[in-house]
Amino acid sequence: MMPFGYVRATDRADAVARAGSGTRFLGGGTNLVDLLRQNMEQASNLVDVSRLDGSIRESHGGGLLIDASVRNAALAAHPLVRRRYPVLTRALLAGASAQIRNMATVGGNILQRTRCLYFYDVDGARCNKRQPGAGCDAREGFNRYHAILGASDQCVATHPSDMCVALAMLDAVIHLSGPDGERSVPLADFHALPNATPQVETVLKQGELITGVELPPPSDAVTHSEYRKVRDRSSYAFALISVAGGLALADGRVTEVRIALGGVAAKPWRARRAETALVGRAPSRDAILAAIREELVDARPLSGNAFKIGLAERTVTAVLTDLAGARA
């Protein structure tokens, strides 16, 4: 690990003012400290933003404003989140361990890097994300955990966050502050697909800080939402497939449905095509299956993860069928 300095930002403006080349913002450190230790990331200075004021409050429009420094555990346990956005509490609690959720911040969770084993194997593997142009050993390697949607020849890594899958389903907006001022980006547009530049993972600009996340007011399908995660062990493991789902019905027909998938792509995958196919239909098992199959038409499995297509189909069907059953 290369030597670096450490300073605690006193407020957001102070943090942004301290940003410069070689400076990294530090949240809970659950990913960045590990990456620095393994020399996969270098920094000359860490600006600790994890102690900035962190609150969760209602927005003027009836939504929720969540400061970026709020810890994952605190967000999951917040009464308003549990009552109005249960999918978010469930997704947070599906991620990592209690210790890590106590440390990890909302901003850091959004910016965490892939868990692709080849990305982490500095000495033994080629990785286009780590070293552009080097090649990708995951494509023909152990790719059970890798992408089936939106991947490229360059990179097949997935984004590991559970929280972000729920945020994609909730139409969350990310607030940013940087040298050029403040701006907001929908979470759906924040993470990048790999294309020819897998080293570019988000639309974040140099020196920009995530200051918060805003959730729109909860719709009926959000209040009745669920998160289900399928993994190789029943707890403390990354997702093979995860599903954030929400459903609203009137007269036995779908009036609103929201579906986002985790474990399938370099970003949380909002299944808009499946949603469109389901609206106006009765939520039968066959209708749900047909809708998610429409979404997965473009899936391109690798040597070791073709099972993910069927697993995604069955998990979406199970989540929506359960939600429909609970609402019937």
């Binding site: 605690r8 530090l26 400290v33 860490l46 346990a77 549990r82 469930r90 890590i100 403390y236």
Partner: protein, 169 residues
């Protein structure tokens, strides 16, 4: 700003790279906290930071400045005896080699507080409802961040059940 470790104030290290775990073990010689994976996968290094369980391997010591750290060495009662949960681990055979035990115990003590607050877990049926019913499934899910390679999990869960029953009286 100093770091308070088990009630004593210690200066933060000069080198920002030093983890809280290395500060405890190598600088303060509090070797009760164990280094397992050193990358956030095993939970052996779990300590209490301002009462919350965290991984000391992924916490920079500098991040703990101004905070209160409690380790396994700081859990004993006022009269120097064992903590209730330490005694329960002995009685329930909650260990074999013992390497994960300090982390398990720190983790479970914080978990009891999370339960008392009514925090839900991934296996809680209704996250919007009040305090979750404490079941073995709840304990196992909440303790999943602490691995035990000897497989002493049944004894660990029983020891935690004993502590929860004792403190609920």
């Amino acid at each position: 700003m100093p770091i308070r470790v088990n009630g004593a104030e210690v200066p933060p290290p000069d080198d920002a790279r030093i983890s809280l775990l290395d500060l405890l073990r190598e600088h303060l010689h509090l070797t009760g906290t164990k280094k397992g994976c050193d990358q956030g996968a095993c939970g052996a290094c779990t300590v209490l930071l301002d009462g919350n369980r965290v991984l000391s391997c992924l916490t920079l010591a500098a991040q703990a400045e101004g905070s209160d750290v409690r380790t396994i060495e700081g859990l004993a009662g006022d009269r120097g005896g064992l903590h209730l949960l330490q005694q329960a681990f002995i009685e329930r055979d909650g260990l074999q080699c013992g390497y994960c035990t300090p982390g398990q115990i720190c983790s479970a003590i914080a978990m009891a507080e999370e339960l008392r607050r009514g925090d839900p877990s991934y296996v809680t049926l209704d996250v919007a409802a009040g305090p979750p019913v404490v079941t073995r499934a709840e304990i196992r899910e909440r303790m999943s961040g602490n691995l035990c390679r000897c497989g002493a999990h049944n004894g660990i869960v029983e020891a935690i059940e004993d502590m929860l029953a004792e403190t609920a009286r």
